[in-house]
Symmetry: C2
Subunit: 156 residues, 2 copies
DNA sequence: TGTTAAAGTGTTATGTTATAACATAACACT
DNA sequence: AGTGTTATGTTATAACATAACACTTTAACA
C-alpha cells in the first residue's frame, strides 16, 4: 500500500498540518495513524490496539485509541465509517486543499475502502429529495456497502 | 402515529403475508412488530425489550428479540438501520406490491425515520460512479443522517 | 392418533464496540 | 517553581450482538 518511506513522509506532513493550528501529533497519535495508513483499510479501534502492539510493541488502552481517533477525525486525518464501526485514514492527507464531504465504498469481504467523490449534481439531487421529505441532511457523507472487483473475481 | 385499531389491521395483514408462504407470525413476533409500529420510530433491540415489557408485560430475552427482528427483516416487515444500530417497521407493510430498495432519513435528534424513494436516475448515477471506482454496490439502501424539520424548529 | 422432524424459544455465556468518570503525567508559559 | 492546559492512564460499565446448546411447540404424515 505505502512504503515505510512514504508513511514517514505522510506523518511528517500531518504533523505540520497539526502544528499549523496548535494541535499536537504526539507519539501515540502517530503510532495509531501510521498503523491505519499502513494497513490501507478500515480497522476497528480494537484492531488498532492489536496493530500498535504488533508493529511497535506499544500497549495503547482502548480508551486512548478512541480519544486518539476522535482527535485524528477532528484534524481530518481519518474518517469514521459508521456503517462498519471502523476507521480509515483520509486518502487525501497529503493534499493541501480543502475537500468536500467524502463518500465511501466499503468492501464487505476484505474491508478495503475507497474514498470517492460523487458528482456534485448527484449529491444536490439527493439533498433535494431529502428536503422534499421534510428533513435536512446533517451530513452528506454516504457510506455504501459494496464488494470490490478483486474479491468478486476471487469468488467467481 | 397509528391507532390500536390500525395496528391490529396491519398485524393481521402481516400475518396473512407470512402465511402465504408458510412463515409463522407467532405471538412474540407480533408483540415485537406491534411495539415497533406503535412507536413510529427507530428502536434498538434493547428498546424493544423494554417496550414489550411496558406494553404487554412480556419479558422477551435479547437473544429472542434479535432472532425475531431477523425474521421480520427477512419477511420485509422491518428494516435494519446499520447507521444507527436500530430497527424500523417498513412503512409499506400494507401494500401488496413489491418495493425497490428503500432509502432512509434518520433524524439524529428524535430518532424518527422517514422511508423515501429516491429517483431511479439518481440511484443509477450513484451506481455508475461506484462501478467507475472498481466496486459493485451490494445494496443500494442508503442511510442518511438528518435532522427533521420539527426538531430543527424546536432548536431555533 | 402417535411419532417425528423442523421451527421456535429459553438460557447462559461471551464477544464487540463505545463511553463515563476520575486520576495522573507531560508540556508550555510565566 | 507555579499554574493552566492538554494528553494519557485506569477502571468500570453501557450498549449492541452472537454462539452454543437445551427444551418446547407445531404441523405433517405414517
Amino acid at each position: 500500500m505505502h512504503s515505510t518511506q512514504n508513511i514517514n513522509q505522510i506523518i511528517t506532513h500531518a504533523e505540520t498540518l497539526c502544528k499549523s493550528h496548535g494541535a499536537r501529533l504526539t507519539t501515540k497519535r502517530k503510532l495509531v495513524l501510521s498503523s491505519l495508513i499502513q494497513s490501507g483499510k478500515a480497522l476497528s479501534a480494537y484492531d488498532l490496539i492489536d496493530l500498535c502492539k504488533e508493529n511497535f510493541n506499544e500497549n495503547i488502552p482502548a480508551m486512548s485509541v478512541y480519544r486518539i481517533l476522535e482527535f485524528l477525525e477532528n484534524e481530518k486525518l481519518v474518517h469514521k465509517l459508521k456503517l462498519a464501526n471502523k476507521y480509515v485514514a483520509c486518502s487525501h492527507i497529503t493534499c493541501n486543499h480543502d475537500h468536500g464531504v467524502p463518500q465511501f465504498l466499503i468492501c464487505g469481504t476484505c474491508d478495503h475502502v475507497k474514498e470517492i467523490s460523487i458528482n456534485k449534481s448527484t449529491i444536490s439531487q439527493l439533498k433535494n429529495d431529502v428536503e422534499q421529505a421534510g428533513f435536512q441532511l446533517i451530513n452528506s457523507q454516504l457510506e455504501m456497502n459494496c464488494i470490490c472487483n478483486s474479491c468478486q473475481d476471487k469468488s467467481a
